[in-house]
Amino acid sequence: MHELTLVQGILDSVNESSSREDRRVARYTVGVGELAQFDVRLLRKLFRDLSKNTTLEGAKVSFVREKARLRCLGCERTMSFGDLSGQLSQQEKEMVHFLPELLNSCAKCPSCSRSYFEIDAGRSVRIVEIAFD
């Protein structure tokens, strides 16, 4: 599961921020973009397990679900993932789960039928904010 790799990457980055600031991390917020279709319960467990016995063990992690906002570069229509996800097979959803930009390889704009979207929000996981003691 590549969620584990990404969670470790976030923890390393938060930890490096802590070292750079020379302050303990009290809490941090992770944005969870809708396109990557991650299970927040799984992410929560991974953050808990992977931060055990590290300097981030006591830090509180919270999650903000970020709705996907897509813009068709053909006709400028803005849309949600829900407007497109019905077009995708299970295999295509899996593709988008790994590489959200591949939505353009398998979905068409409901208005102009082009497959030329830009992702304005809700791509994948990201660090939103870190609070230090």
């Binding site: 599961m1 930009e101 591949l102 830009e118 870190i130 609070a131």
Partner: protein, 261 residues
Amino acid sequence: MPSTRRSCSADFRKGMIEKRLRRVRSIILILSGKGGVGKSVISAALAEILAQAGLKVGLLDADVYGPSSALIFGVHDFPKEKANGLVPPSRSGVKLMSVDLFASGRPVPITGLATVQVLTEVLALTDWGELDYLLVDMPPSTGDIMMFLTSLEKRKTSALVVSMPDRLSTGVASRVLTLLRSERFRVIGILGNMVRKAPSLSEGASSLETLASASRAPLLGVLPFDEGAAAAVERGDIDGLVRTRFSAQLRRSVKRHIDQS
């Protein structure tokens, strides 16, 4: 001390890529600026030649719009998910990663900046392990992908520029070399490709020598147009490709570089 909040705009994946690339000794970008000059075939053959020399080799197909490395190697497996990331499929000793392993032949109509997102994700997630060489089959153009990949790990990355002898190819290669120089990027040298037999061979070699001299980069070698190599690529036969006259000349051209490694 009062608590402080910092909002984050930095991309945590950059740190992941740095860590991955620490385990790679040398990165070679194979580029030309122009399409159709044989970058992908040279990248594949070179990867296989290095692997046959006992080196640990990875090949990243960075041509998001027109990937072909997976076809040349005859690899179509979705990368396996393991605890340390995505494990690239391996063929004849070369680990291969390509967007096409995810897209499975579908077109990828995305913007230049979106290609950078895709390659950032692929580089952050791919567990190459220890590598002597990571070869990168670059797309045509001097656009976003080139600017992104030439900014990574500059100290261990160098460029191999491929050009055919015609003036359309050398003209674009010259611009690429100018850009690499202005970026203070290390250039191993130039490889001439698809040079036909005399009388055009001498003309071809001459135009490539002019390119090399004007750009102050060595001309490493001149590879022949080889129908045997073209046929091996058509068959997806990488083992056959490295047995051709084309690959023998490529091996001689890069020998000094391999011997120094």
